[in-house]
């Protein structure tokens, strides 16, 4: 009887969360799917008609589409490379005995708490600006021509800014994993004469593999949707040089008023994200069994 009761209560407690998320997941997504098969332009909302696969075809044949997919992958790949390699290096460094470790940690973790528009505008104006930026000052002091970052290397500039924001996250997680490494094992390896490099390859790296996987997967989810950093710096340009899929969909929807086309793009984004999600769920799910 009592268990019956508890079970009923447990279900009741669970219902609001599950219900809300269910609505949140199904309603907008169903609408996106429906719109993706419609000719629907916000400038002409009276004239909505069935479009079949036209929107997908339109999106697929738009040269900006492939460039945006490619840019999306470059942003994800570039940021992952910088944050994982840099994160491992900085985590190894922070794991050493030193003075003022608390302050060093605080400084390194800080960029993660900076909201994306601030991060992007600070980098754009104060650091990378070809006239007044700090990098331009350094270039001039060394006798070089300042670089116009956002005109010459728009995508790279965005990758640098986003990597700066995510480097603390990778570092913090890898450091946490590193600190759980058994000290005795390390000492034993040292006694056996294993050098730093072999200790790193045979002991540290395998120990970190799980944390690295988690870093890659979680960051990928967020990096697929990089938006504000592009909006306030290059606005996707020049041309489509720094437009990723998220930004292209935003452009189609709210600047082009093309509901159908943007929805077709949205469905493609969902498919892309799902491919990544499957891997993440598997990694996190394994932990839950433990």
């Amino acid at each position: 009887m009592a268990t019956e009761n508890t079970r009923g209560l447990a279900r009741l407690m669970l219902t609001p969360s599950v219900g809300l998320l269910l609505i949140w997941m199904i309603v907008p997504l169903a609408m996106t799917l429906w719109f993706s098969f419609q000719n629907y332009n916000l400038l002409n909302p009276a004239n909505v008609s069935w479009a079949g696969l036209f929107n997908y075809q339109y999106f697929y044949t738009d040269p900006a589409f492939f460039q945006s997919i490619w840019n999306t992958l470059l942003i994800v790949g570039g940021v992952l490379l910088i944050t994982v390699v840099g994160g491992i290096a900085i985590a190894l460094l922070l794991d050493q005995p030193m003075w003022g470790q608390g302050i060093v940690r605080i400084m390194i973790i800080s960029p993660f708490f900076v909201m994306p528009p601030v991060a992007a505008l600070v980098w754009k104006n104060m650091i990378m600006h070809p006239g007044y930026g700090v990098l331009a000052d350094i270039n001039r002091a060394l006798g070089f021509q300042p670089i116009d970052w956002f005109a010459q290397f728009p995508l790279l500039s965005i990758i640098i800014i986003v990597a700066w924001q995510w480097l603390p996250f990778a570092t913090l997680i890898l450091l946490t994993a590193l600190q759980s490494l058994d000290g005795e094992q390390k000492e034993a390896a040292e006694m056996d004469g294993a050098g730093f490099v072999s200790r790193f390859i045979y002991l540290t790296l395998p120990h970190l593999s799980r944390a690295i996987t988690v870093v890659i997967l979680i960051q990928t989810i967020f990096l697929l949707g990089v938006y504000a950093e592009i909006l306030v710096t290059t606005n996707g340009g020049p041309g489509y040089a720094s437009t990723n899929l998220a930004f292209l969909i935003y452009r189609t929807a709210l600047l082009g008023y093309d509901v159908g086309g943007a929805s077709a793009g949205g469905i493609i984004a969902v498919i892309l994200a799902n491919i990544v999600a499957i891997f993440l769920m598997r990694a996190v799910g394994k932990n839950l069994d433990k």
């Binding site: 060093v104 700090v134 949205g266």
Partner: protein, 274 residues
């Protein structure tokens, strides 16, 4: 001998770590420095010593009405966090203390909703908000942020609650404690630290959310993310003022973040790395 090596090791590690940390922290540091400069000073070239004027802070308050977006940020991030906790605490509680065969599937499914790219539902959400008059309202944005952060809140609370030993509940029950007493006297004190950490992390996430907050607001409900983004237009390009506004926008969250380093790892990896 060994001692000498270790001191040298420490000196090298300290030097390297400080250099790396200062490089990474530099953009933030320079923003704070620039916010204390006058406008002409700010574009005069690299200079680490400002004239320590608060002119830009005053201007940001008087000319751009900084207080309004700041209050919007506070209301929206705190409001959405409390709302998410209200919905999530019972759910996490029931899954942690009376798990069923489906608990794991439900948790996984909740996590999967977090993976839906925001931009994929931009159009329907925008249209729903437009048609229901929720565009550019604090209420609409609060609901939005509650929904997108709900899975993380449930997950974080679940990983904390799961560590509360179930035997304590049984012991309390044996002593004749009723459900209400059990919750007030036994569970709540043990659950508070986990709830507090979740609260802290979620406020940080909500404060910095920069897709919905920018797209679903224009003026009335625009929080700091949208306010700062409006500085991207050339007319708004005044560096000392931009720096002052930026410093004010990130300061509270930066300080909160420093206190939540550990919870951050746990919360954002869904308990996979502790």
């Amino acid at each position: 001998m060994a001692r000498a090596v270790s001191t040298r090791h420490k000196v090298v590690a300290t030097t390297a770590a400080w250099i790396v940390a200062l490089i990474i922290f530099f953009p933030i540091l320079y923003t704070i420095i620039t916010s204390l400069k006058t406008e002409p000073e700010a574009i005069k070239g690299f200079n680490l010593i400002p004239s320590f004027t608060l002119e830009s802070y005053v201007t940001v308050h008087t000319q751009r009405d900084y207080f309004k977006p700041f209050m919007n940020s506070v209301v929206i991030s705190v409001g959405s966090t409390l709302l998410a906790l209200l919905v999530a605490i019972p759910a996490a509680w029931s899954m942690a203390f009376s798990p069923t065969r489906r608990t794991k599937d439900i948790l996984m499914w909740m996590l999967s909703t977090k993976m839906m790219p925001a931009v994929a539902v931009l159009v329907p959400i925008y249209l729903i908000f437009r048609d229901t008059g929720l565009l550019d309202t604090r209420f609409g944005l609060t609901i939005m942020l509650t929904l997108i952060n709900l899975p993380i809140v449930v997950w974080m609370l679940y990983t904390y609650f799961r560590e509360i030993p179930g035997e304590i509940l049984e012991a309390a029950r044996m002593d004749g404690a009723g459900l209400l007493q059990e919750i007030v006297h036994v569970l709540t004190p043990m659950a508070v630290p986990g709830i507090a950490s979740t609260l802290l992390l979620n406020i940080i996430l909500a404060w910095n959310e920069s897709f919905w907050t920018i797209r679903l607001t224009t003026t009335n409900a625009a929080p700091l993310t949208a306010f700062i983004a409006s500085f991207s237009s050339p007319q708004g390009l005044f560096w000392a003022k931009l720096s002052a506004a930026s410093t004010l926008a990130i300061a509270p969250i930066l300080i909160m973040g420093w206190f939540s380093q550990k919870q951050l790892v746990r919360g954002l990896t869904f308990g996979a790395v502790k």
